[in-house]
């Protein structure tokens, strides 16, 4: 069953078609990879799904409901959470409160505040930030800020999680840890769409990958198919796939 | 406020706009008068109060109300309730008079107002026995005199522009009643909000209307640029009246000989009497011409003289007694015999209403019985712009 579906999704910036007429369909429970050269429109697509930008034309369905035109907070409460490529944490709030906000507003369950607090700690533990839980978020390193974004997104209780380059800036060892984290999230039954330039991660985690170029879909398939696609190698992968960050 | 302790001074309290937007008015209107007057009285030892059997010098206690009405009312209360001053002198501005008068009255403090006066103060006064208004204003008796002067000369049409505030509304309103009585039709009327900067469209409209008389009822921020624009746009109505602004020395220093023939509101000219000449010398001699004010200054001065004489006549500092004296008796001031009638300075005491710049002097031209010079109508055209 597909959890998220897009038909003819299009977005222009001035004359530039950042995303143009893209169809996609993400199955419930899978990890779906989104790759493509810099400026291909990947982040823009995330912005369209999460309603940061209005869609110019096309339709996006989440769990068979049309979500185009909804407000971001509505979409979040329906179960779509995201992280940001250029991190957007609440810099002066403690790490803990960053996560707590997701619990307060992400979904409408009748949790008591004690339950929320303990859940928040659980998420922090899940991403490995327990030690810095009271520090202002701005004092974290970039990598930790990205982890914090993941925890905050999880706290909203999503069914679908959009991860935008959370492995950028990690060394290979740390990438492995992050991959493990993503897998653990998936084990919770959360569907994942991830943008990543780190091929090792994309290829190992995702069941299916979609490739964008100049806003258009140029390929879609299993990691193996993508890795061997002439087109993708030419515009994106290059001879040897090496990027870690 | 009479007290049994030996008194050695009379404390007078004031909330004045030393800063803020009203400072401009406060600084040039009542301030030079109370400064000069207080110095003069104190130099003579003060005011004789029989109750104490001696002269008591005046001490001023001045607070800055920042031109904020809320602050002014608070400070007035402070002066009365906390500082227990012997007397209250007025705050600055018509709205401020309206707000201060009920407070003074409530506490039984005599208040002779300075800057400010308006038709509807007349309706209020019966309920405010302690309040006395010194300044002349629109129908008391300026505009009726103006209308008569113009009517006699055969003016038929007028164009009025006025500042959108209490002052402007009143003057234009009263003109609307008085002008037609003398056969002058108002063919243009518009209000301009405070802080308006561009007067060219108005002057152009007035010029196009061809009216005999142009009136600018507003403060200097309207009248000065309106004058400048009239000159630049070569607008020469037969009469050009503006105020309050034309009555100040700075109007003349700004436009020099070009001010010739412009009309404004006034009370006196130095040449009117010996007393007037003496006051002129006291206030203006050896000082820059800018500070002259031919309308308000003599009236404020007279107001203070009334106050002093009322205290002397009463022989006590008891406000109630002094109020009685002020309300019923006549005083001798720079204006001649002076008295209050229903709380207003009687119009018979005014020594002039309308003035006109003639050869560098702001002559009284109306009412005719007080005139120091003949009313010139039509006024000469502005000095011609040099041809390019």
């Amino acid at each position: 069953m597909s959890i998220l579906e897009g038909k003819g999704v299009t977005k222009y910036f001035g004359g530039l078609a950042a995303v143009s007429n893209v169809d996609f369909s993400v199955e419930k429970g899978e990890a779906f990879g989104l790759i493509g050269p810099n400026g291909a429109g990947k982040t823009t697509l995330f912005n369209l799904i999460s309603a940061a930008y209005p869609v110019k034309s096309g339709i996006i369905r989440f769990k068979d409901k049309d979500i185009t035109g909804l407000k971001p907070y509505k979409i979040c409460r329906m179960g779509v959470a995201r992280t940001f490529q250029i991190v957007k944490i609440f810099p002066d709030l403690p790490v803990f409160s960053n996560v707590l906000l997701g619990l307060h507003f992400g979904h409408s369950s009748g949790m008591s505040s004690a339950e929320k607090a303990s859940l928040a700690l659980e998420y922090l533990d899940f991403v490995g930030l327990t030690q810095v839980k009271m520090a202002p978020a701005k004092d974290l390193t970039l990598a930790n800020q990205k982890r914090l974004e993941v925890a905050r997104a999880l706290a909203t209780g999503p069914e679908l999680l959009l991860l935008d380059e959370i492995m950028a800036g990690l060394n290979p060892t740390e990438v492995s840890q992050a991959m493990e984290l993503v897998n653990r999230i998936r084990e919770k039954g959360i569907t994942i769409i991830m943008i990543e330039h780190v091929m090792k991660a994309i290829m190992n985690i995702c069941q299916r990958i979609m490739v964008l170029h100049h806003g258009e879909k140029i390929a879609e398939g299993s990691p193996r198919e993508i890795a061997n696609s002439e087109k993708v190698i030419k515009v994106y992968l290059g001879e040897k796939a090496h990027a870690t960050c | 406020t009479t007290n049994t302790f030996a008194k050695d001074k009379i404390v007078v309290g004031m909330a004045r706009p030393l800063s803020g937007p009203m400072a401009t008015i406060g600084d040039s209107a009542f301030k030079p008068i109370y400064d000069t007057w207080t110095d003069e009285v104190n130099a003579q030892g003060g005011i004789y109060v029989k109750e104490y059997g001696k002269k008591l010098p005046i001490e001023l206690l001045i607070y800055d109300d920042k031109g904020d009405l809320g602050t002014m009312t608070r400070l007035t209360e402070k002066l009365i309730v906390k500082d227990k001053v012997d007397f209250l002198w007025p705050s600055c501005g018509t709205a401020f008079v309206f707000a201060q008068a009920p407070i003074a009255n409530k506490h039984g403090y005599v208040l002779i107002t300075a800057e400010g006066g308006a038709t509807h103060v007349k309706d209020m006064l019966p309920s405010l026995p302690y309040v006395f208004v010194s300044l002349s204003f629109s129908d008391w008796y300026q505009i009726p005199v103006l209308a008569e002067l113009l009517g006699e000369k055969g003016a038929k049409t007028a164009y009025i522009t006025f500042r959108a505030d209490l002052f402007g509304i009143e003057y234009s309103g009263v003109a609307g009643i008085e002008f037609p009585k003398h056969g002058i039709e108002i063919i243009g009327l518009n209000s301009v909000p405070p802080e308006t900067k561009d007067f060219a469209p108005i002057i152009k409209k007035a010029k196009a209307s061809g009216a005999d008389v142009f009136c600018a009822f507003g403060y200097p921020d309207l009248v000065l640029p309106a004058t400048g624009t009239s000159m630049a746009l070569d607008y020469n109505p037969k009469a050009w009246i503006g105020g309050p602004a034309v009555n100040f020395g700075f109007y003349h220093t700004t436009f020099g000989p070009a001010a010739e023939g412009v009309l404004g509101f006034t009370t006196f000219a130095c040449s009117q009497s010996k007393a007037a000449q003496t006051l002129c010398d006291k206030l203006y001699k050896g000082k820059p011409e800018e500070i002259n004010d031919w309308w308000g200054h003599p009236l404020y001065w007279a107001g203070l003289e009334c106050w002093k004489q009322a205290i002397e006549k009463a022989g006590t500092l008891d406000q109630k007694v002094i109020r009685e004296v002020l309300a019923t008796e006549k005083f001798n001031t720079v204006l001649g015999p002076t008295w209050f009638e229903n709380g207003l300075m009687a119009k018979e005491c005014h020594t002039g209403e309308i003035g006109q710049w003639q050869k560098g002097i702001f002559e009284v031209v109306g009412p005719t019985k007080n005139a120091t010079a003949k009313f010139v109508y039509p006024k000469s055209i502005w000095p011609a712009p040099p041809k390019k």
Binding site: - | A23, V192, P193, P194, E195, A200, P201, P225, T253, T254
Partner: protein
């Protein structure tokens, strides 16, 4: 009909020139140095009084005075930045904090400058008459002093625009506005640049004051009124755009002129209505990014 219309538009342009002139300095101080200088109007006031005094006492031509008062105010602005605002910048953790603090500091400056001015010059109204003559443009008369102001507004703003857009220092000023730390990494001496900006802002204010005094009466308490105009014009135009301020000024001028022609009582209502509507349509000003 057409001549009336032209007449209104030209009047509007003349007025707009004054608005633009008032705003350009502030645009520089806020757009670059991030100081929303509430005391901008006080600098205008000093410029105006300088001009008035020199004209009255020594008969110096007001236009000539620009060249005297300008540099003096530049220095004052420059050193004010070097002392007060530099310290504030050093102790502010973020741009927003600096903005808040510098706004408040300039609020304090307003009080100080105005009080000193009142002590020196009094609070009463001052005015002189200069170039109160008409200039004939296609059959309609226009005040010469306004034309001079317009001319200066155009020249000054153009010069500044060109300076910012094309010179090395101009680019440094703009870069510093956006990310001072990184501008430092490029070799820009931030404090110097910001101080220069602030100085230039004060210099413009003094020009504006000098030219204004030819058209309007002046008082030591007049500053706030002009600060408000300046802020509105700057925001209307878009913060980091000198050209925006210029357009904003003209827009206000022309709208004001049209409305004044129809119903003078609504002139200021129209200013603020235009301002508010425009911001709703373009939340970052006409040329804002």
């Amino acid at each position: 009909m057409i001549t009336t219309f032209l007449d209104i538009v030209i009047s509007g342009l003349l007025m707009g020139g004054i608005y633009a002139l008032i705003a350009v300095g502030l645009s520089l101080q806020y757009g670059v140095a991030r100081v929303l200088n509430i005391s901008h109007g006080e600098f205008i006031m000093i410029g105006a009084f300088g001009t008035y005094i020199l004209y009255k006492t020594a008969g110096v031509n007001p236009i000539l005075t620009l060249a005297i008062c300008g540099p003096v105010l530049f220095l004052i602005g420059f050193f004010l930045y070097k002392t007060l605002f530099k310290i504030l910048l050093a102790f502010s953790d973020s741009a927003e904090i600096f903005e808040g603090k510098s706004l408040l500091a300039s609020f304090g400056l307003l009080f100080i400058i105005q009080n000193i001015a009142i002590l020196i010059w009094g609070a009463d109204i001052k005015s002189y008459s200069f170039l109160n003559i008409g200039v004939d443009l296609g059959g309609a008369l226009f005040p010469a002093n306004r034309m001079v102001t317009l001319l200066f507004a155009v020249v000054i703003s153009m010069t500044f625009y060109l300076f910012l857009a094309f010179t090395r220092m101009g680019k440094a000023i703009r870069a510093a506005a956006q990310n001072p730390r990184i501008a430092g990494l490029m070799g820009v001496n931030i404090n110097q640049v910001l101080a220069l900006c602030f100085g230039f802002g004060a210099l413009m204010a003094s020009f504006a004051g000098g030219l204004l005094s030819m058209c309007y009466p002046i008082t030591t308490t007049m500053g706030m009124e002009y600060t408000v105009i300046a802020i509105i014009v700057v925001v209307l135009g878009g913060l980091d755009s000198i050209v925006g301020s210029f357009i904003g000024g003209f827009l206000l001028g022309i709208v004001g002129s049209i409305v004044t022609y129809i119903e003078p009582g609504l002139a200021l209502v129209a200013y603020y209505a235009i301002f508010i509507i425009l911001l709703l349509v373009r939340p970052t000003g006409i040329l804002g990014k």
